[in-house]
């Protein structure tokens, strides 16, 4: 089961966790990640963050990432929720969760999904600060992290 949502509304970690668990006695492991808006970035204080995305491609891309993760690891259920629009510090941005019979696949699957999402999914962040708004630059470290999964695709 793959559930993908791109939305402005906030999400409930409890509700999403319940969805992963309901009628599911085969999976012994659930791993999830939540990304939140921080009040500082490389440059300065962040007072708000706006997320833009590419409607149509965003959902398609996240589905492809989830399918890719399923080919590499034994993951029964995958839920990805990514918010868009204007968010304030401490707000939730993204939720990535997987269920699996065992924890190895669950931890790796969740990490893979986040690393690939950060370098492949068509979202762009614009941060507001006391001195104005600026687009966030992609990080070399994110690219390097995602590339490691390419090298590791031997199994």
């Amino acid at each position: 089961m793959i559930h993908i949502a791109v939305q402005e509304d906030d999400f409930s970690v409890q509700k999403e966790y319940d969805r992963l668990c309901e009628a599911n006695s085969q999976d012994g492991a659930i791993v999830f990640f939540v990304g939140r808006v921080r009040d500082v970035s490389e440059r300065q204080e962040v007072t708000a963050m706006t997320l833009e995305h590419y409607p149509g491609m965003t959902e398609k891309c996240l589905h492809e990432l989830a399918n890719e993760a399923k080919t590499r690891w034994s993951l029964s259920r995958i839920r990805i929720i990514h918010r868009v629009g204007r968010l304030l510090p401490a707000e939730q941005i993204v939720f990535v969760a997987v269920s699996s019979p065992n924890r190895g696949a669950a931890f790796q699957g969740a990490e893979f999904l986040m690393d690939y999402l950060k370098t492949q999914a068509p979202f762009w962040k614009k941060e507001e600060s006391p001195t104005g708004a600026h687009w966030v630059d992609a990080k070399e470290s994110d690219r390097t992290k995602a590339d490691q999964w390419i090298k590791n695709k031997l199994k």
């Binding site: 999402l117 068509p122 962040k125 992609a138």
Partner: protein, 83 residues
Amino acid sequence: MSTITVKFFARLKEQTGVAEMTIPAEKIQTLNGLKHYLVSQHPDWEIDLGHPMMAAVNQSMVNNNPDLNAGDEVAFFPPVTGG
């Protein structure tokens, strides 16, 4: 349909001032050809389109120089920063 749709996002949309436009398909054969055509029509876009950029054709990321056909949707955008 005899056109190609071109979309810009994020900083690129702000710099070009365009979110979406259509191009006559007969003028374009490949993705690189499309970029050259856009710069020839809008010389002030040359710097903006010269920065590190990602591209998608029909909503799938591409990192080579694919052929383009009438009805295709091409998007240009800065390296993504979601998550």
